[in-house]
């Protein structure tokens, strides 16, 4: 099926998220939509999928103008979508999820789950997925959940399949498998829109590339174009893809983790006998596919999760059983992976957010009162030093862009004297300008002789920042290797292979 978007415009208040976007996807083509975070890719796809209604422009399928009132219409017209955040009901079974909204029923609207199971098995077998239709979705690994999403789209006979950042949760090898599946679907005649910001994947699988920036189409590109050219189109200026850093000057051991084990919800060892050291002046990156225990490891290090075994030493100080506050007071800075949930209070002002973990004493507080004069002065200083673009310190955090929100978090954590800095997904959902800034600050912290732990699922970020890389798989550290290790080796480790 041929998909055409003509002059799609979508505004949110004064913000133009999509500005007269044109796009043509031929039948059986894999068409990449390339753009950095916040460029408007997801908005465009939500318009296509009927979740948003466009302010201007038309959607055409096989040259017929479509009017989508909701996702139901889009699906009926043959559009399927695999969302970046899976649209699955965690407590439902695979079969229930696959048929939801399109349920086979008997008399009186009674569910016919048998035919639903049959449908799942059929598609599963056709594409070699190993999915049990009666499994509860929340019990499945992330990779399988993504396959459920694909089955869901195929079960509705999708002729146009949109994949929104599908590789974020996959190992390099799983990514390769997914690309194989995409190829197979395209050969069978399905048109595929592949949304991503990762140049490597675009070059590997796309037939054609459309680059968008700041809500508008910048131009088309070919997969054979160089990565530098694609990056320049995407960002709008020459980008240095690497991170500049001097050779590490190692100090004494700053963090020492010994046999750390954390039990997650549901009696699983989400962190399983993890041991590593980080020395002052070095960056240890923890790599791995999302959901292999990195989050829980970071939370255990900062006291948010109670370890069931093992030791955490900060220099000579044992912080294994310390509270979050004690660990903060011991000089541990922490950037949580989900800043909206864990890092910021959206309804607080920037000034209030900058003192989030500092309300227990001077200089931000005086006795049991907030020291407003000091607070305002310090907030202004941090806003300037960390280049937070805001009308002022009284602006609500939720009104800032993702990049500026993250700078507020970074300012709060790096704006004091640290003995250890832990950053989880420090640049997720952040624009390229802010990414560069945040990377610089992280390296500056390392060069100031602090031990730094970075947790990231972005292999580029890991290899760029790290001095050493620890790869996590199913709660265990598979190995700790040098930063110069090849992507292929890292990829195999992320899938569980030991070095």
């Amino acid at each position: 099926m041929k998909l055409e978007l003509r002059g799609i415009t979508k505004r949110f208040g004064s913000l133009v998220a999509n500005d007269h976007i044109d796009l043509v996807v031929e039948p059986g083509e894999i068409h990449s939509l390339l753009g950095e975070n916040g460029a408007g890719k997801s908005t465009l796809m939500n318009v296509l999928y009927g979740l948003y209604s466009a302010d201007e422009g038309d959607i055409l399928l096989d040259s017929v103008v479509q009017k989508f009132k909701g996702p139901g219409d889009a699906m009926a017209a043959g559009i399927g979508m695999v969302h970046q955040h899976f649209m699955l009901i965690p407590v439902f079974t695979v079969a229930e999820n696959v048929v939801l909204g399109n349920e086979p029923t008997g008399a009186l609207g009674i569910l016919d789950l048998d035919s639903a199971r049959k449908r799942v098995r059929e598609i599963s077998d056709r594409f070699g997925f190993d999915i049990d239709p009666d499994a509860i979705v929340e019990d499945l690994p992330v990779g399988s959940q993504q396959r459920v999403e694909i089955i869901k789209a195929l079960a509705r006979d999708a002729k146009v399949l949109v994949l929104d950042e599908p590789t974020a949760v996959l190992t390099p090898q799983e990514t390769d498998e997914l690309m194989g599946i995409m190829r197979g679907l395209a050969t069978a005649g399905t048109s595929i829109v592949f949304i991503t910001h990762k140049l490597r994947e675009v070059q590997a699988v796309a037939d054609r590339i459309t680059v968008i920036r700041l809500g508008a189409v910048v131009g088309d590109a070919k997969p054979t174009d160089s990565a530098e050219k694609l990056a320049t189109m995407m960002v709008g200026r020459a980008v240095d893809l690497g991170v500049n850093k001097k050779k590490a000057v190692l100090g004494s051991t700053g963090l020492s983790v010994k046999g750390l084990t954390v039990i997650g919800d549901g009696s699983l060892k989400v962190v399983d006998d993890v041991t590593f050291d980080v020395r002052g002046g070095e960056v240890l990156a923890i790599a791995g596919v999302q959901g292999n225990g990195q989050t829980e490891l970071a939370e255990a290090l900062v006291g948010l999760r109670e370890p069931s075994a093992g030791k955490i030493l900060l220099g000579d100080l044992d912080i294994t059983d310390s509270s979050v506050r004690e660990i903060i007071d011991a000089g541990v800075g922490y950037i949580p992976e989900d800043r909206k949930k864990d890092g910021l209070v959206g309804d607080f002002t920037i000034a209030e957010n900058l003192m989030l973990n500092k309300s227990f004493g001077p200089p931000w507080a005086k006795g049991v009162q907030i020291d407003f004069a000091n607070r305002d002065r310090l907030a202004d200083e941090l806003i300037a030093e960390f280049d937070v673009r805001t009308p002022g310190r009284e602006t609500m955090a939720k009104q800032l862009s993702g990049g500026n929100q993250q700078k507020v978090v970074v300012a709060r954590e790096l704006g004091r004297d640290l003995n250890l800095f832990i950053a989880s997904q420090p640049t997720r959902g952040v624009d390229v300008g802010s990414i560069e800034f945040i990377h610089e600050r992280i390296i500056a912290t390392r060069d100031a002789g602090k031990p730094v732990v970075i947790i990231s699922t972005e292999l580029d970020e890991v290899t760029g920042l790290a001095d050493r890389i620890a790869v996590m798989y199913r709660g265990r550290i598979v190995g700790i290797v040098d930063a110069s290790t090849s992507r292929e080796t890292l990829g195999r480790m992320m899938a569980g292979a030991t070095v």
Partner: protein, 422 residues
């Protein structure tokens, strides 16, 4: 925070929780010691059926403290059973809890009625009638919360239903009109809740409380300004007839208690299983639960979240309104000032206690109905005992249950969350 997926990590032995067996053992000891060892030696007569019943089961006469002893031992055995299960890292099933509760109740009855009768059919029958408004309120609550709208306004819906049933029933001289008016009125109230919650995205708990205040204000005003002056015409509806169901009503013990009742009670018997069936076996129910768990996901497969929520909440109002009618024309007839008296809040607790499941909620509602009749009956058979404490029993039981057993039970994931569409 990403939740790690299950089959990818090494497992550890599940942590063993002895909370349930410990609470059970404590209860068993209280029963055994208070009702058994220090119980009263007088005989107690358990009357299973009325003499005029079709099949008459002879009375069972036994010493009160013996009942306490025996039940205490049985309860200890159940607690031991729960302990064994807990050691194997298994939870205590609901039915074991229910059996435990049932025996505890028998011991309480035997202790209260020392030297007197326990009219089983009378107690059960009244408990059912008293449980009807609570159960229907709870079903309305479940319908609303399963699609993700917290309904604190059950109290207001019961009051609306009670008021309209009595007034419309009186004015039209037709109780069925009253019944319909009750359902429509409460449904309209639900529509206000639904539109505030869905359209205006107002905090659902707050809207619910506000609606309760509003309805209390309006019915109080109309009652004092109008009904109390003109009661003969406007507040004298009478009640539905009691219709024994042929056959079923002659079942021993249960028949007279359950199947000699009013239409409101029979409707309740129908609504509870019907709701269960619709929720868990049909397309409508699957979609409703999807909306309550993950509205965005439901939206992406073409389910209209706002419409689904609106209609489920509204129909929940219909059911709760029926519960309100049960308070007046299904029970005492005339409307009284603020007569729902907190039963809507009890229904709210019942929803949680019943884990958003129609059958479990119905059982919890029966517990409250039972406690109300127990208080009345205990005053008659055993005037010396402090009934204020018996009054507190169901609330304390609910507290213990909420705190001890269902504290971290999983509500529909999107319960109380507005769905904002781009």
């Amino acid at each position: 925070m990403s939740t790690a997926s299950n089959d990818s990590f090494a497992r550890v032995d599940a942590r063993v929780s002895y909370k349930t067996p410990i609470v059970m053992a404590a209860f068993a000891l209280v029963v055994g010691i208070a009702f058994g060892l220090f119980g009263k030696p007088e005989a107690v007569t358990f009357q299973w059926s009325n003499p005029e019943d079709f099949i008459h089961i002879p009375d069972f006469v036994v010493a009160s403290n013996l009942v306490g002893m025996v039940v205490g031992v049985i309860l200890l055995i159940i607690a031991a059973l729960a302990f064994v299960r807990a050691r194997a890292a298994r939870t205590t099933p609901l039915w074991l809890n229910l059996i435990f509760g049932l025996f505890a109740v028998v011991a309480l009855l035997g202790w209260l009625a020392a030297g007197n009768n326990v009219p089983f059919a009378f107690i059960l029958g009244n408990a059912v009638v008293l449980a009807v408004p609570i159960a229907l309120g709870a079903m309305g609550g479940i319908m609303s919360e399963r699609v993700g709208v917290v309904n604190i306004a059950i109290e207001g819906q019961l009051l609306t239903g009670a008021f309209l049933a009595a007034v419309v029933g009186s004015l039209t001289d037709n109780l069925y009109f009253g019944l319909i008016a009750a359902m429509v009125g409460a449904a309209l109230l639900s529509m206000v809740l639904a539109s505030f919650a869905i359209v205006y995205l107002v905090d659902q708990i707050i809207v619910g409380v506000v609606l309760n205040v509003l309805i209390l204000g309006i019915t109080n005003f109309l009652y004092s300004q109008w009904l109390s002056a003109d009661g003969q015409n406007s507040n004298f509806p009478g009640t539905f007839d009691i219709i024994p169901i042929p056959g079923l009503s002659s079942i021993p013990i249960l028949g007279p208690a359950l199947f000699e009742s009013r239409i409101t009670t029979y409707l309740t018997y129908l609504i509870i299983p019907a709701l269960w069936f619709i929720l868990f076996k049909t397309k409508l129910g699957l979609r409703a639960r999807a909306v309550g768990e993950h509205p965005l996901a439901a939206d992406t497969v073409g389910i209209n979240v706002a419409r689904t929520r609106f209609w489920w909440v509204t129909l929940g109002g219909v059911v709760a309104g029926l519960g309100g009618a049960a308070l007046t024309i299904g029970s005492v007839g005339a409307f009284g000032r603020g007569m729902s008296g907190g039963q809507g809040f009890i229904a709210l607790a019942v929803v949680i206690l019943g884990r958003w499941h129609p059958f479990a909620a119905a059982a919890a509602a029966l517990l409250f109905g039972f406690s109300i009749i127990l208080r009345v009956w205990a005053n008659q058979v055993s005037p010396g005992i402090p009934t204020d404490f018996i009054t507190m029993v169901p609330y304390v039981v609910t507290l213990i249950a909420v705190v001890g057993f269902v504290g971290r039970v999983r509500a529909p994931a999107a319960d109380g969350q507005p769905y904002i569409k781009g």
